[in-house]
Amino acid sequence: MRVALFVTCLNDALFPATGVATVKLLERLGVSVDFPAAQTCCGQPHFNTGYRGAAEKLVQHTARAFAGYDHVVTPSGSCAAMVREQYPRWGETSLASRTHELTEFLVDVLKVTDVGAYFPYTVTYHPSCHGLRTLRLGSRPHRLLQAVKGLELRELPGAEECCGFGGTFAVKNAAVSTAMGQDKIRSALATRAEVLCAADNSCLMHLDGLIRRQDEPLRPLHIAEILGSTEEDPYRPEEPIS
């Protein structure tokens, strides 16, 4: 089984710890993953803003970068949704059918829910719109989190509501985006959880920006970093990646 990691451009440049955690997690589960260096961006920002020509070139570039792999795994619900839902517009059905969001890959392909993780914190999970409505991840992330040793999962009120990121929406409609994000943070704070978890660093980047500006006691964290954390090699927020 040839498995490729699609780390995504956002994770590559700004959230490498998510990529590292994904690699360690998959290796721990016996998967040898490859990182095709030609990969860059799935084209979602271009497509969602209306620039179809620019998007199309990136679609073809991405399809070429991942040719020959049985499975492509990505720790990003929205990029997985782009590949799965939109790539077939340009005839790229093969990559669409081989691409999995991380929690999907774990539960559906590897058929595990207990990944042997250890994370002794209270956590609340934001399902994010692409995971919820496009990929229909359902209870997969919850099942994975519930099996983590030491972790206490708290239900997020209004979980299905959008956090207000929406790609360029966050900038084009900054006031509404901010109001939505602040409501999401308020709901998360009401759970008194220490960690706000999601399967998408794009939503988390927006929420983290608000949390830091407002100085709230809440840590946004990608689910890969929670599932990657073990008793021997626990999640250490302040340490540089190694």
């Binding site: 451009c9 959230f15 803003t49 209306g50 719109c129 929406f169 966050a170």
Partner: protein
């Protein structure tokens, strides 16, 4: 569409004002969350909801594909039943026809059933210019009319008002339009409803001309249908001598039987009722029963242009239930006025720029008034893929390349080039990491982001470099 909305600021600016209006936000949040929960419950009661939704989608799609044929069938059936059919290409023509018909009766007052089509064409204003006063009889429309306001919701046009605001409107304004509100009016719902009832009754009994829209038009029988909750509609449809109905051509369904589907999905989606309290159906005229004179004005006003767009045409399936407004997180914060059209919320964001074109700043901003979260598509009883149409319209606008889009297009094209050259991307990332200590906290161009949010820190190493060092 109505001239009242010309010169509206683009959505982001209008929405920003609304976001900072705390009363408005609280009113909207309360109203949308309440109806949202109720709708979900009412829909969950039907085990065949998904089949009904699919049936509704298919009936509408089929009708739209053969609309020319069904409209001609409809015209024949209405004429056969004693009605008169008029065709209006745009708002001006429709308003002209209505004004002439009212003038021919010699009346200067008309009562109105709440109707989106007449709002779309700005009928009340057009009639006023001809010396004809149009009285809105739907409670929420009455509130909007008394307040010299604009509707902000399809179903609940006064959703942005709370009870205290309504009480003072009634007390101050009703007397100028007819019967004044009783002394000592409180803001209890019963009191407010009674004041409206007394005020309106006088109008129903006096009016000799009624104006309505319709939720559906049945081609095979020439029957029009209005569904409503208050009963004012039925009064307007039956009491006057002359009834004039202005209806968008897309409201056609082929057969009587097709109503079976929509009379289940519409009330549950819009008011969370199993069935709407009043369903009025009329077919032409009948001796000694209801209006003597019936006129149907079939309104195009941009609809055939929408029909010509393969992706966008699904917006014409809309049955105006407003479920998409009630679940929309953007509508909830921005309110209906920010959309600058009688069609607000997700459906407005795809319908308005198609009906009016994307030439104005407000129309070009509407397809971007969404995070593409998909909640609207999920609740739509005729399965309009609103996010997909939004993307389609964004494509059209970006290609047109208006003022705001020239810079953006250049930026996205440049990023596209970098992103197709991984070695350039790697170098860019390396440079960003190496210079991370020197980055300003608020780099130029990040304004809209950093007003309320911090930017993410640039890490010491990209993933790409980590992989190179640790796994190759």
């Amino acid at each position: 569409m109505s001239a009242a909305f010309l010169g509206m600021p683009p959505f982001p600016r209008a929405a920003e004002e609304a976001v900072h209006n705390t009363t408005l936000r609280a009113n909207l949040r309360h109203a949308t969350h309440t109806i949202r929960a109720k709708r979900a419950k009412a829909v969950a009661e039907l085990s065949d909801w998904e089949q009904l939704r699919e049936a509704g989608r298919q009936i509408k799609d089929h009708t739209l594909r053969h609309l020319d044929r069904y409209l001609i069938q409809l015209e024949a059936a209405v004429t056969e039943a004693g009605g008169t059919v008029h065709w209006a290409a745009d708002a001006t023509e429709a308003n002209r026809i209505v004004a002439d018909l009212v003038k021919a009766t010699g009346e200067t007052e008309v009562v109105k059933v709440k109707s989106m089509a007449t709002q779309e064409i700005g009928l009340n204003e057009a009639l006023a210019a001809e010396g004809i006063t149009a009285y809105e009889t739907d409670l929420a429309e009455l509130i909007v009319q008394l307040g010299d306001d604009r509707p902000s919701h399809i179903l609940v046009p006064a959703i942005h008002r709370n009870r205290a605001e309504i009480r003072s409107l009634f007390a101050d304004e009703m007397g100028k339009w007819g019967r004044a509100a009783p002394h000592g009016l409180t803001d209890s719902p019963a009191d407010l409803a009674e004041a409206a009832r007394l005020h309106l009754r006088e109008k129903f009994l006096r009016a000799r001309v009624g104006i309505s829209g319709a939720n559906f038009m049945v081609a095979e029988t020439g029957t029009l249908v209005v569904v409503e909750s208050e009963g004012n509609g039925r009064m307007c449809l039956t009491l006057p001598r002359t009834l004039i109905s202005v209806v968008g051509i897309e409201k056609t369904v082929p057969t009587w039987r097709d109503l079976e589907v929509f009379l289940q999905t519409l009330p549950r989606s819009s008011t969370a009722e199993r069935m709407n309290p009043y369903t009025s159906l009329w077919t032409g005229t009948t001796d000694d029963d209801g209006p003597r004179d019936f006129h149907l004005i079939l309104l195009d006003n941009g609809r055939t242009d929408v029909l010509a767009d393969e992706v966008g045409r699904q917006a014409l399936r809309c049955i105006r239930c407003s479920a998409c407004l009630n679940v929309c997180p953007v509508y909830e914060r921005a309110g209906g006025h920010a959309y600058g059209s009688v069609y607000p919320g997700p459906i407005g964001a795809i319908l308005t720029p198609q009906l009016r074109g994307t030439g104005s700043a407000i129309d070009a901003s509407l397809p971007y008034a969404s995070t593409l979260c998909g909640a609207c598509y999920e609740v739509c009883p005729v399965a309009i893929d609103i996010p997909d149409v939004l993307l389609h319209l964004r494509g059209r606008i970006a290609e047109q390349g208006g003022p705001g889009h020239r810079v953006e297009r250049a930026a996205l094209a440049a990023s596209g080039w970098v992103l197709r050259h991984p070695t350039v991307l790697a170098a860019t990332e390396k440079l960003a990491a190496a210079t991370r200590g020197m980055h300003p906290r608020r780099p130029p161009g990040s304004g809209a982001w950093t007003t309320s949010r911090e930017l993410p820190d640039v890490p010491t190493q990209s993933f790409r470099d980590w992989w190179q060092e640790n796994r190759r």
